[in-house]
């Protein structure tokens, strides 16, 4: 249309408004088949992995034997990020808790939010103007 130009956009994701897609996509568990540091991880794989994986059908669990290395839990997230936790010498309960931590993470680094509200929307108030303040409330010199 004459006189109106277009500024093209690409829609931005708001996970949880509408559908919530769980961010954790894949978990890779590596362990050593004889090392003492992998004892807890091996226990977890033997006794708890099946019931744990059944709770999270949306996650692809991958178990890799890596002889001679400490056990590592690696989680991959939908937006391409990943997180790794070394569970060397940890017992089976700690391994399970670390896995839960990975499952419940969004993949982003932990950071302290500076504002209480984080939003993609513009401020509804617009630019502050002294003329829209009620005259009785105005600052008097």
């Amino acid at each position: 249309m004459a006189g109106i130009n277009i500024l093209q956009q690409v829609s931005r994701a708001r996970n949880g408004i509408g559908a919530f897609v769980h961010p954790c996509r894949r978990i890779v568990i590596t362990y050593c088949n004889f090392g003492g540091s992998s004892q807890g991880t091996r226990d977890f794989l033997r006794t708890r992995l099946k019931s744990f994986a059944e709770q999270y059908p949306h996650i692809h669990f991958n178990v890799l034997e890596k002889p001679g290395f400490h056990p590592v839990l690696r989680a991959e997230y939908t937006d391409g990020l990943d997180k790794q936790i070394c569970v060397r010498k940890w017992d089976v309960n700690v391994v399970e808790n670390k896995l839960k931590l990975l499952v419940n993470s969004s993949g982003r680094k932990l950071s302290k939010p500076k504002q209480l509200v984080k939003s993609l929307n513009k401020s509804v108030r617009g630019i502050w103007s002294p003329f829209h303040v009620d005259p009785s409330q105005r600052h008097k010199v």
Partner: protein
């Protein structure tokens, strides 16, 4: 399973549209209804993607026998048993919360693009059909929510929701679909089962990253795709799969949840060249009084930081307000705000034609000038 063909599906989706249009008029019976012209299409579509070569389609004897159009370009189709062995497919199925009617092998098919030397069923027709459903529901949503959008902005907003770049983001960064970029040698060394490659998005890549810092631009063939198009097509194919498995209502809900819930700021898509002239022209076509700009308040005219607030009036009614550090800036802002207030008009409780509570009504006469 489902036989997809562009012509059949194209007509089917057109039938859906025309049925809705016809149901609004009460003219029936002996009176011959005028033919609906299809020249002006609001729906978003890609012209280079909507045709399939005639040799690829097996046509039934009757052209209107839409269920029996068949693709002949593939010889193999993964069985459901095999598809159930692919962990990434099962995970994707659960992540998207798809219904049990949605077969796992349909998901495999949605992730297979049309490729050279590919014997398996690909997603080409599914993507075309999905694109049509997406364009229908997204334009429907935009038209009923913002009935006065200029057509160029409407098209751009549709593109913002269901264009290649947007759906690429949906498929890759929201749904977590992975592209299959590893070579056969790498797969062999990883001892990866052969079936697992079906769990990833496969397409003939236009650009490949050979190794860190080296990018190879391949010779474009008929089937090679940019990554964004390939990902977007897989998302469209999944929408088509939802339609085929669970029907129209589920497909609409799926689009609402995954596509229309995303953020598009339509008010910042406008760029007015001469807002003063535009608002004058608009008011003239609406038979309203021509705009007058009046100063509402000001401060510090002689200082280094003056502020003016002006209003764009038509007669006594205030159309838009603008503030600026000069009179000219404030005037232009007020005209822009007046124009946006008109074009971004939104009914209080917008209902879409596909909703049962929708009542057809006269909303607006459309664009009065171009």
């Amino acid at each position: 399973m489902y036989q997809w063909s562009s012509k059949a599906l194209g007509r089917k989706s057109f039938c859906l549209l025309s049925r809705r249009l016809i149901s609004l008029s009460s003219v029936q019976g002996k009176v011959q209804s005028p033919k609906i012209k299809t020249e002006h299409r609001l729906s978003y579509e890609k012209a280079n993607n909507t045709r399939v070569g005639d040799s690829a389609i097996q046509r039934p004897q009757s052209a209107t026998d839409f269920g029996n159009y068949k693709r002949e370009s593939f010889v193999l189709n993964l069985t459901e048993e095999d598809a159930l062995k692919i962990p990434s497919i099962l995970a994707l199925h659960a992540r998207l919360n798809l219904s049990p009617n949605f077969e796992k092998r349909t998901l495999v098919r949605a992730l297979t693009s049309r490729m050279e030397d590919n014997q398996y069923a690909d997603n080409q027709q599914m993507a075309i059909f999905g694109s049509n459903i997406l364009s229908y529901y997204v334009t429907e949503y935009l038209l009923s929510t913002y009935p006065r959008l200029p057509i160029a902005i409407l098209k751009a907003a549709t593109e913002a929701y269901i264009g290649d770049f947007s759906l690429h983001d949906v498929a890759k960064n929201q749904w977590g679909i992975e592209a299959d970029t590893s070579t056969n040698l790498e797969k062999y060394l990883l001892k990866e089962p052969k079936l697992f490659k079906f769990g990833k998005l496969r397409f003939d890549q236009l650009v490949t990253d050979v190794e860190d810092g080296i990018t190879r631009f391949n010779n474009a063939s008929k089937t090679s795709l940019a990554a964004s198009t390939a990902f977007a097509n897989s998302a469209r194919a999944i929408v088509a799969g939802v339609y085929a498995a669970d029907g129209e209502a589920s497909a609409k809900e799926f689009i609402d949840l995954h596509i229309l819930s995303r953020k598009v700021d339509i008010s910042s898509m406008f760029e007015f060249e001469e807002p003063g002239k535009l608002i004058t022209r608009l008011l003239r076509t609406k038979n309203m009084e021509l705009p007058t700009i009046r100063l509402i308040s000001e401060t510090g005219r002689q200082s280094s930081s003056p502020t003016f607030i002006v209003g764009c009036f038509s007669g006594d009614s205030l159309l838009g307000e603008g503030q600026g550090s000069s009179l000219k800036e404030a005037r232009i802002r007020s005209c822009v705000n007046a124009l946006k207030a008109f074009y971004l008009y939104r009914p209080l409780d917008p209902k879409r034609p596909s909703e049962s509570t929708f009542k057809p009504m006269f909303v607006d006469e459309g664009e009065s000038f171009y």
